[in-house]
Symmetry: C2
Subunit: 236 residues, 2 copies
DNA sequence: TACTGTGAACGGGTTCACAGCA
DNA sequence: TGCTGTGAACCCGTTCACAGTA
């Protein structure tokens, strides 16, 4: 995601400049890699090593980091804990983010139990479902709430982000209710275009889209393989 | 995402020109919207209407479509079934895509049951898990296979795409086995950087990344709200 | 007349080479 | 000496205005 690098809006870092969306997406990857290094006790990395581990080239990595400030030491490299902290701070991960998940099907439950959230500054504080048989069940530490009480529970839990994991036909209604309840950051897994005021940040993940993009590239590979094959036959 | 418009590789459409990654991602959205219109019996759309429904502006939509060819009628608009078919063909969705899902946790099951796949040309032909208690269970039409027999099942089912829905620490190993088994298109939900030969197309979806990007924008909004607030106080 | 298709201008991201500093 | 930080050039995608056509 490419991706994304799609959502927009201006953006200012601690350094005062804005971070390009494409860089922002990569910064989250650097942060994850640094986290792994932290647990392994690595203390210093060069831009070359970090770039390698993150799957990018080193000038790009250095450029990305330069949007935040100068947190390395010339001739030496970067201090892992320090750089990790600086990126976290720049991304706003030092604030507390309280996530409500709407939809307790397999996807919602997968998200609720995702270990990557807690460890990276996000706490799942509520999980909703519309099915009366599902409401009340426990998932990890959470008890599934009834969507009917969405607004009340959002307020009580002071959620400030939401994830939409509901069927396509329910997504717009839930989105509207979330927005009306004051949520301004939404991650949606529903394969529909959501309407919301511009001040609301919406990011979309659509698995069918991802597979279609893969299919496109795979088809291209097949076609060009056939072409070179045919050409090889002609050459004989 | 986002991209995303991130994955690369050259690309040639039926028209002969390559489709920019960003356009490619949007084309899948147009296709979805056209699909909805099809079921509603809509026969014609203007670029304006389609753009509106897809959440983009009309010049961008027309530019995106122009990468495929000239499938509209000036002064009239686009024929919905025809355009839909042309986009499908350009994306390679007329071929049959057989998807293997590795990992039958909540995420894997959510994907296996995702209605958006079948309806858009993807068939889930296998679902794997490593847990002996899970292997053998039925999920919809599928019986969960043992990852130990990954290679054999991939061959028997003629899978040509794979989705990785396994924990981070198992992802690289599974990726390697998929690649060795001849899979060249992989969609990964594991929050790790995967190593694979360049001819293998890998797309990544990381939910923590998405939330972090939302957090960044939300933090910015908070900070600028505080700033204008402080300024307002000073002005008094 | 109305709407599509596209060249050209614009802006932003990536790349690179090298300046700057421990 | 070695590695970071960055300005400048390059390249690609987006935007826009208008030319083209049923």
């Amino acid at each position: 995601m490419p991706d994304d690098p799609d959502a927009a809006g201006p953006a200012v870092s601690a350094h005062g400049r804005h971070i390009p969306p494409a860089s922002l997406a990569r910064l989250t990857v650097y942060l994850r890699v640094l986290g792994t290094m932290l647990t392994e006790g690595v203390e210093r990395v060069s831009s070359e090593e970090l770039a390698e581990a993150a799957g990018v080239n080193s000038p790009k990595l250095r450029k990305d980091l330069s949007y935040l400030g100068s947190y390395g030491t010339r001739g030496v490299g970067y201090d892992v804990p320090y750089l990790s902290g600086q990126i976290s701070a720049a991304l706003g991960l030092t604030l507390d983010w309280r996530v409500a998940i709407v939809g307790a099907g397999h996807l919602g439950r997968a998200l609720a139990g995702y270990p990557g959230f807690g460890s990276r500054g996000f706490e799942v504080v509520a999980l909703f479902d519309a099915d009366p048989l599902t409401v009340g069940q426990e998932v990890g530490w959470l008890r599934i709430s009834d969507v009917q009480s969405l607004e009340a529970v959002l307020e009580k839990t002071r959620a400030n982000m939401a994830v939409l994991a509901v069927p396509a036909d329910a997504a717009q209604e839930m989105c509207t209710r979330l927005v009306d309840a004051g949520i301004t950051s939404i991650l949606s897994f529903a394969p529909v275009v959501l309407q919301a005021p511009p001040e609301v940040q919406i990011r979309k993940v659509d698995m069918a889209t991802e597979l279609q993009i893969l299919a496109y590239h795979a088809q291209r590979a097949q076609v060009s393989a056939l072409a070179t094959d045919a050409q090889a036959r002609l050459m004989r």
